[in-house]
């Protein structure tokens, strides 16, 4: 396939507290579909955002068509012929398809400030013709399915005469037939000599469409292999590596057999599909899976934050109706959101007020006023017990570190007498020292007989903390593992198992099946 289209060498990028890219390497050939894989946070999107001018690398060089280039902004990338389609689509829903494609470079009337709507629609039509896409340029983007919106993004990218097309998880929201259509277009582009970078978690899908696979892990380049020569198992083992987590998992004591929470056949649209699980007293149940697998959705459903279409929830064997978070709290369920600042805390209020917030009624005196001495002693008790580092109870929660904020939320739920605690990414954005403190707390709570659901995208965390692991993919539970049998590889396999597709070890067919071209 000749000279590479893109070569990225020694790319380095840091964000506060994270070394996102460490000496990364990447190479793209013309007419190649190149898959970029890795766990959440491996640095795939960041690397591609460097290539498309959204981030600026601190070190390293980018060679494009044999020449070293600077890519300071997305505009510059587009002018070179590099376009990126982001995970969250960047469209203007109120505008039409054609208006979206040519935003910022609309064809003008001969009076310069006037738009030439006809030329606009004609040009959009031409782009669609190139893609063999049947789409009305005058339809509003808001009226399209997500798949069609994706096509609009692709058309937009190609209307810049893109020679490099980067797609960040393009199939995440698509159905199988829509994916076939997308792959037909990708295949089409390949024959036209466009280099396509395909970021995805779905390994069997990569087998179907890609020519080569580059694996990243923890911000580092691991290897690039020909897709047809690599088994999925090998790719997975490259993705998880064996060195990330050296400590032996400290499995807490065995929980009792008493089931405190049971969910049966929870269903909510496409987000939660027939999810059932049990939680025992004193157990830490890990919920693993990739971002967007539906774990948070399940947690929110159990907590009553989102309505469910069908399904039943039992607390201590009794069927309960949970229509709102208020109901959940009454049944002793607490939820610690992954977005602490948004959903977990009243940031502008102090530690004491936050701790008593969910159980205010307990602190009301005879005429409805708050018993301050009682709230103070309760808050003091939890601050001590959870070792919250705060100068005083009157410190605004906003000024605490992430780990300490997490502890305040925990204190809040403990004050509200919850026995079932759902932790959604409990250590996200928390530094390493505070992390082990949180782990310690979780273990303590379990030993005291609290039951814990821990949603985490970090496999080592899941393996270290859980008694059992439930793995989700696309709204379904795809596997359940006892901690004794759980490995990163096994979890990863379940987590990438979409729909009814089973993983095969043999090399997949080399050419992608053609859609209804």
């Amino acid at each position: 396939m000749g000279e590479p289209l893109v070569v990225m060498e020694g790319i380095d990028k840091s964000f506060p507290g994270v070394h996102a890219l460490d000496q990364c390497h990447f190479e793209l050939l013309p007419g190649e579909v190149h898959a970029l894989v890795g766990e959440n946070g491996a640095g795939k999107s960041t690397l591609m955002k460097v290539l498309s001018g959204i981030y600026k690398a601190e070190a390293g060089r980018i060679v494009y068509k044999g020449k070293e280039v600077e890519i300071p902004n997305p505009r510059a990338a587009q002018q070179l012929g590099i376009s990126m389609i982001h995970q969250e689509l960047n469209l203007m829903p109120h505008l039409t398809v054609a208006q979206n494609i040519f935003i910022g470079r609309e064809p003008r009337h001969h009076i310069r400030f006037m738009l030439d709507e006809k030329a606009l629609n004609d040009q959009a039509q031409q782009v669609f013709a190139l893609l063999h896409l049947n789409l009305d340029p005058r339809i509003k983007v808001a009226d399209l399915t997500v798949a069609k919106q994706q096509m609009v993004e692709i058309a937009k990218a190609l209307s810049f005469n893109a020679e490099v097309l980067i797609m960040d998880e393009p199939t995440a929201a698509l159905t199988d037939t829509e994916i076939d259509e997308l792959f037909r277009i990708i295949d089409d582009l390949r024959t036209k000599g466009v280099g396509v970078v395909h970021i995805s978690h779905r390994l069997e899908e990569l087998k179907q469409i890609s020519d080569r696979v580059t694996v990243m892990r923890d911000g580092k380049y691991i290897d690039t292999v020909k897709t047809r020569e690599a088994s999925i198992d090998r790719i997975i083992s490259m993705m998880v590596g064996r060195t990330i987590f050296e400590a032996t998992p400290e499995v807490p004591e065995k929980p009792s057999e008493e089931i405190v929470l049971e969910a049966k056949n929870l269903t909510r649209g496409n987000l939660i599909k027939d999810v059932s699980f049990q939680l025992k007293k004193g157990e830490i149940l890990g919920f693993s899976g990739l971002v967007g697998a539906g774990r948070t959705e399940v947690a929110r459903a159990v907590f009553g934050a989102d309505p469910i279409d069908s399904g039943e929830i039992y607390v201590k064997g009794i069927k309960v109706h949970i229509g709102s978070p208020n109901d959940a709290v009454k049944h002793g369920i607490g939820y610690l959101s992954e977005d602490r600042k948004r959903y977990g805390l009243a940031l502008g209020m102090d530690v004491e007020e936050n701790v008593v917030l969910a159980a205010f009624k307990k602190f009301l005196g005879a005429f409805g006023w708050v018993n301050r001495s009682k709230t103070r002693s309760t808050a003091e008790q939890y601050v001590k017990m959870l070792a919250v580092k705060t100068p005083s109870l009157q410190q605004k929660v906003r000024n605490l570190s992430g780990g300490n904020q997490q502890k305040v939320i925990l204190g809040k739920w403990l004050t509200a007498d919850t026995n079932i605690l759902i932790f959604d990414e409990p250590t996200r954005g928390i530094d390493v020292g505070a992390k082990s403190e949180i782990y310690h707390l979780l273990n303590n709570l379990a030993q005291q007989g609290k039951s814990i659901i821990m949603i985490s995208s970090e496999l080592p965390e899941i393996l270290r903390m859980s008694h059992r692991v439930v793995v989700m993919c696309e709204g379904r539970i795809t596997g359940e593992l006892n901690i004794a049998e759980a490995t990163q590889e096994k979890i990863m396999q379940y987590a990438t198992q979409r729909g009814e597709v089973l993983l095969v070890d043999e090399p997949a067919p080399t050419s992608a099946p053609l859609g209804d071209a």
Binding site: P74, R75, L95, G104, R105, F113, M114, D143
Partner: protein, 349 residues
């Protein structure tokens, strides 16, 4: 591919439904009021409604741009007043020719709008706060410049005469005169007005401004970016559009319309009233919202806003004819506003 991509009938587009809802409401109001009072459909009364709509309508045109863009402008009422005061300052105090005074009024509005735009884009002050500040600033400046007193256009009666004259009426008289030179409407026009005489010239200015606004919003780059930024400002930025510059332009345009409203209200009242103005911005925003402009941005139309402005003035006029006390008129306007947005929400669900 599948039939899903077939364009929905354009009549069923959400903002059109809202516009039809507003239009239907307007028709319903007219029917009810004309059944309730014979006076309602008299030419004089219709002329009064048009006149009442003109000032609020022009303000609402500018506000429509800002709201579609995803912002808000609370300062249009007092910017209008300040523009009127500046016009009076130029014409009456500094004895400048009337056209120069008009230009000064328009420019004052545009400059206030420009300042709003720069506060929002460069200083990153939220639109609500920036324009609230401008509301106070222009309110104060009006009082400062006018020294707390109304300024009358007594030396230039032509200003008021042209504004409150009726080109349409004159035209009608010319046409009638050709066929029937002895018609009393031609011989004694003051005692025998034609049916179109109540449509004053400033009403025509309003319609002219509306047509220009509709053209800008629908056919020009500025209009396109107004919708684009209101729909998804980040995507627009990533597409290489200079978002700050266009946003500033939109606020400036809104200010320009407020300036025009200032000139109109000055001409109509034959004076600049420095204490007037606060509260007009709310009527203007209400007109836009009733007409289907979404406060979350990305949706709206000039036609809808014009209809919305008429809904408000027809309501006020009709209730007044029915001798509903003015304080209750305000209550009804508020109720209608909430109702309009409620129906909009329900439709979107």
């Amino acid at each position: 591919m599948e039939a899903k991509t077939a364009p929905r009938s354009s009549l069923l587009r959400p903002e059109r439904i809202q516009r039809f809802l507003a239009f239907g409401g307007l028709i319903a109001l007219i029917v009810v009021f004309s059944l309730a009072s014979q006076y309602f459909l008299k030419p004089d009364n219709i002329g009064g409604i048009f006149l009442a709509t003109a000032v609020n309508g022009v303000l609402a045109l500018g506000v429509t741009f800002v709201i579609i863009n995803g912002g808000i402008d609370l300062s249009v009422g007092t910017v209008m007043t300040f523009s009127a005061v500046m016009t009076a300052q130029f014409i009456t105090i500094w004895q400048m020719p009337v056209p120069v005074g008009i230009l000064a009024g328009l420019l004052t509005g545009a400059l206030c709008g420009l300042a709003n735009g720069l506060m929002v884009t460069k200083m990153k002050v939220p639109p609500f706060v920036a324009t609230l500040g401008m509301l106070y600033i222009t309110k104060g400046l009006s009082l400062v410049v006018s020294q707390l007193k109304p300024i009358y256009f007594n030396d230039t009666p032509i200003f008021n005469q042209v504004a409150m004259g009726s080109v349409l009426g004159d035209l009608a008289r010319v046409v009638i005169g050709v066929f029937d030179p002895s018609n009393p409407m031609v011989l004694e026009p003051l005692a025998n007005p034609t049916i179109v005489d109540p449509i004053k010239n400033i009403v025509l200015v309003f319609f002219g401004a509306a047509i220009i606004a509709a053209f800008i919003l629908g056919k020009t780059i500025l209009g396109r970016y107004t919708f684009a930024m209101g729909s998804n400002v980040e995507a627009t930025r990533l597409s290489g559009v200079n978002v700050d510059r266009w946003q500033t332009a939109i606020y400036t345009l809104c200010g320009l319309f407020a300036g025009l409203a200032g000139v109109i209200i000055g001409a109509r009242l034959n004076s600049a009233q420095p204490a007037l103005g606060a509260g007009y911005e709310l009527d203007a925003i209400a007109a836009a919202v009733i007409g289907g402009t979404s406060l979350s941005g990305g949706e709206g139309s000039i036609l809808g806003t014009v209809i919305g402005a008429f809904v408000i003035s027809v309501l006020a006029n009709g209730l007044r004819i029915l001798s509903v006390p003015q304080e209750w008129q305000i209550v009804v306007t508020g109720t209608i506003l909430v109702l309009a947005v409620y129906l909009d929400r329900r439709r979107k669900k």
